[in-house]
Amino acid sequence: MTPETLDVDELLDDPARRVVVCCGSGGVGKTTSAAALGLRAAERGRRTVVITVDPARRLAQSMGLESLDNTPRRVPLPEGTPGELHAMMLDMKRTFDQVVEEHADPARARQILDNPFYETLSTSFSGTQEYMAMERLGQLRESEEWDLVVVDTPPSRSALDFLDAPERLGRFLDGRLMRFLTAPAGSGPLRLLGAGVGMVTSVIGKIVGAQFLNDLRSFTSAFEAVFGGFQERAERTYRLLQDPGTAFVVVAAPEPDAMREAAFFVERLASDGMPLAGLVLNRTHPLPEGPAARLGAEEAERAAEELSRDGEHPVAEAALRLHAERARTRGRELLLRDRLLTAHPGVRVAEVAALAGDVHDLTGLRWVGARLAGGGHEGSAGAE
């Protein structure tokens, strides 16, 4: 099965393309892919900003920056580069603070920011990071300062969390339990629930403490008065993702878990009418061209066994064992890839061969970008 090739350059060059979202499960090379796409777009003439959520300083340093923060910083590129690359790292608390400060009068903003519950909400709520990544994406997109915004999604437990978290958070804040907890005693929802209510209140009080409930109540009333409902806001950012100017790139490593997540994501994008550009298959192990590509694992293993009998050709024996392992790995990778393509025909694929080490600099990012664009083996010295 030969998959259709994901043409990354076509994706990045289209002036109507304003947002590229890189998604996938953790540890598959999303951040590097996002940075490589951003660099390639800049070098092809677009004014690009990359939003990362990865706090590893390594990435900032690979782009020649000491560190990244919530404001886009310009990445120094060689003279004559037609576009620009800027990079930022999502600071979810800072982003949340800004949203509050923008929308509330100073007194009310203070009231919200000082509430102990706000601290939890803005730093450790599950879903806040995803939600704030969306918020920041929306801000950058609306500013019209950028030709292209490339987003590296948070390292969620599941790739789908990125799509669901903002809405879940919104639903939660608008939800039944929240209304229940924050309603004045004895009013509406309490009466409807009937038996068990007293116990529920007592349980919640026991678990989180009465002070927490009070903080939560005053927080919610201050917050709602300003924003008029979280859910609506979450839905608006969600709609941005369905815009035809947005494209999703699903990143996966050729391993069962990551590929399963990738398949879920492909399905989900289709069912939500979100534009999938293609699949990046990262860290693959292609075989060398020539007769080595045709030498199967079993044959190589057999030949190695034969050589091991007299032990006169240790290097050839080692080479054959190594090849057998690589050929088996490659076989599994192709099986995983083809399984996904059988279930989702027509998904375009770009393959990036595994590097022996990490990407350390712009040269490395450029190399990944070239591979994403289907570039051959040029400059592949570091490839596995």
Binding site: G26, G27, V28, A56, R58, T120, S124, F125, S126, G127, P155, R157, R168, L169, F172, G175, L177, F180, G196, M199, V200, S202, V203, K206, I207, V208, G209, F212, L216, L287, P288, E289, G290, P291, A292, L295, A303, E306, L307, S308, E312, H313, P314, V315, A316, E317, A318, A319, L320, R321, L322, H323, E325, R326, R328, A356, G357, D358, G382, E384
Partner: protein, 367 residues
């Protein structure tokens, strides 16, 4: 300087080569400081094989007729996937046997079930718990107060650590000297990025409930987690990013007053070439004619062209091995016991777990 890294674990597996001296077994003493631990918390960067390592550790610790419990806390059903079984219910169920008659029980803990159990056990409040479920207890526990979720999960694991035979739920009621229900508990914990917050339950809950049952529950969990009979092990690969996270994670754990355990290096590849050949492969100075002669001797067609292709693969292997040796050196310099587990052809299924457990036993675990 490149090739005399610290002696690693025994390289087992089918790829042993004549002419390449098998590296020495790590002396069993290296696991020493962790041998007395009753709670083993396993963390690491995502994708390093935490669940596999935790299962192998639980199996190795059970060898020789002991009983261990493997607890997973992320609701991912990772152990079920690893053992290629259908999703596990919220109950401690014997799933693996260890050499010498030991058994490993598995518990897939999730916050909602842990909350229900907690409410019922401590307050007899099943009905209130059900009402809470209807109102969205899961959303509640996991969203509004992540600290509470962590307390429920760590509380569940530490309860199993403290549990005495025949005194489930109320360890304090057991007479002194009653044997523990489990000889050791292994927790498949959240990744390094979240481990500090997860284990620092006291601080988490202090912001929520300053007194009351949940506060006491958290304090009991924290007491076990901070005890020097609890060790936090970090799983890594011989790659830069996971190794960096290992170093950062160990720093953070020590800063929180927790007891770092071993560095568990997963998916270690066998070494196929001696030092001189490896260096030649890396430098691109391998004798291709001799390689081709070997391939011809094995009866393979087009030995010259094949040699060119395989030379590329050997080069990659050598570059990678060089990097791995450097990373191995950095990991050893962290000053923790370093245990290695081989890369397996097939990384899931009970056999894989048993195989890795044997590798750990060979390095002193469970002896």
């Amino acid at each position: 300087m490149l090739w005399h890294g610290p002696t690693g674990a025994a390289v087992t597996g089918p790829h042993r080569l004549r002419g390449v001296s098998e590296r020495e077994h790590r002396s069993p003493g290296s696991w020493g400081p962790c041998a007395d631990a009753r709670l083993h918390i396993v963390t690491g960067k995502g994708g390093t094989g935490k669940t596999t390592a935790a299962a192998a550790l639980a199996t190795a610790l059970a060898s020789g007729g002991r009983r261990t419990l493997l607890v997973e806390v992320e609701g991912r059903q990772g152990v079920a996937a690893l053992l290629e079984r259908s999703p596990l219910p919220y109950e401690e169920r014997t799933m693996l046997s260890a050499p010498g008659g030991g058994t490993v029980s598995v518990l897939a803990a999730d916050p909602e079930s842990a909350l229900m159990e907690y409410l019922e056990l401590f307050y007899g409040m099943r009905r209130a718990g059900q009402a809470l479920t209807r109102l969205g207890a899961v959303d509640f526990a996991t969203t509004v107060a992540p600290g509470v979720r962590d307390v429920l999960l760590t509380g569940k694991a530490t309860e199993a650590v403290r549990r005495r035979k025949g005194h489930r739920g109320r360890p304090s009621s057991a007479p002194a000297g009653t044997p523990f229900a489990y000889d050791a508990v292994v927790m498949d914990a959240p990744p390094t990025g979240r481990i500090g917050r997860f284990l620092n339950v006291n601080a988490e809950v202090a912001g929520l409930a300053k007194v009351g049952p949940v506060h006491d529950h958290a304090a009991r969990a924290a007491e076990v987690i901070r005890s020097d009979r609890t060790r936090v092990h970090v799983v890594t690969l011989l790659e830069e990013m996971p190794a960096q996270e290992t170093a950062d994670g160990l720093d953070e754990l020590a800063g929180l007053g927790l007891h770092p355990g071993a560095v568990l290096v997963n998916m270690v590849r066998p070494r196929l070439l001696g030092d001189a050949d490896l260096e030649a492969a890396r430098a691109g100075t391998l004798d291709r004619a001799s390689l081709a002669a070997g391939l011809a001797a094995a009866g393979l067609p087009e030995p010259e062209d094949l040699a060119a292709g395989l030379e590329g693969e050997l080069h990659t292997h050598a570059v990678r091995t060089e990097l791995e040796e450097r990373v191995r050196g950095e990991l050893t310099a962290l000053g923790r016991p370093v245990l290695e587990m081989p890369r397996l052809e097939r990384g899931s299924g009970e056999q894989a777990v048993q195989r890795l457990a044997r590798a750990l036993t060979d390095q002193g675990v469970g002896r």
